[in-house]
Symmetry: C2
Subunit: 126 residues, 2 copies
Amino acid sequence: MPDHLSNTFSALADPTRRAILARLAAGEASVTELAEPFAMSLPAVSKHLKVLERAGLITRGREAQWRPCKLDAAPLQNAAQWIEQYSRFWEQSLDRLEEYLNKIQAQATTKIPTPNKENPDASGSK
Amino acid sequence: MPDHLSNTFSALADPTRRAILARLAAGEASVTELAEPFAMSLPAVSKHLKVLERAGLITRGREAQWRPCKLDAAPLQNAAQWIEQYSRFWEQSLDRLEEYLNKIQAQATTKIPTPNKENPDASGSK
C-alpha cells in the first residue's frame, strides 16, 4: 500500500523543496528558473523535483523542451487534515499559558499594590 | 541553524511514528505500552521515540524506571501554519471542481429535458 502521507511529509522535510513549492505558489516555472535562486546545479534541482513529483506535490508539463512545473496542493490538504487532529492540543497549551499569565499578573497586582491616596489604610503602613 | 520544520516533517514521515503520536493523544504512555500494538521490539520503538523527541513532538518523564512519553503539539502547530499558506490552492481546486460539476449538470439538464405534459411545446416533439 503506498503511504501517501509519509511521501508528503518526507518531501516537505527539506528547506530547498519547501522553497521550490513557495516559488511555484507564485506560478509555473521551468527547472532553469527554479534553479536560479538556489545556486544549485540543474541535476540537484531535478532530483528535488523528482521527490516532489513522486509525492504528487508538483506536476510537469509534457513538452520535452519546456516542461514547466506546477504546484499541486491536494497532498498538502491531506497533510493539513492529519495535523489538524492535534489542534486541540496546541489550543489547550495556549489556554494554559493564558491562565498562567493571568495568575502571575494577579499575584503581581496583589504583591505591589498601587498607592491609594484617597484610602491610606490600603497602603498597609498603618 | 537547526531546521525545526524539516525535523518535524521528517519525524512525521513514518506511519509508526504517526501511530505513536495518535496513541499519546489519548494520554501518557510508557515505552512498553507504546510497543504493544506494533509487534515491535523495544529497541525499535525506542529509536522511533528518539526521532520524535529530537523533533520536540514528545517529552519523556525523568524517572529512570518509568519514563512516560507525552505528546507536545507545539511543532505540529508550526507545521500546520506552514501548510496553511497553501490552503488557497486546494480551496481553488474545490471551487473549480464545483464549477465543473455545475456545468456538466447544467448540460445534462439541457440535453435530457423532463417531459412536461401541461406544456407540450416544451417537449420539442412539435
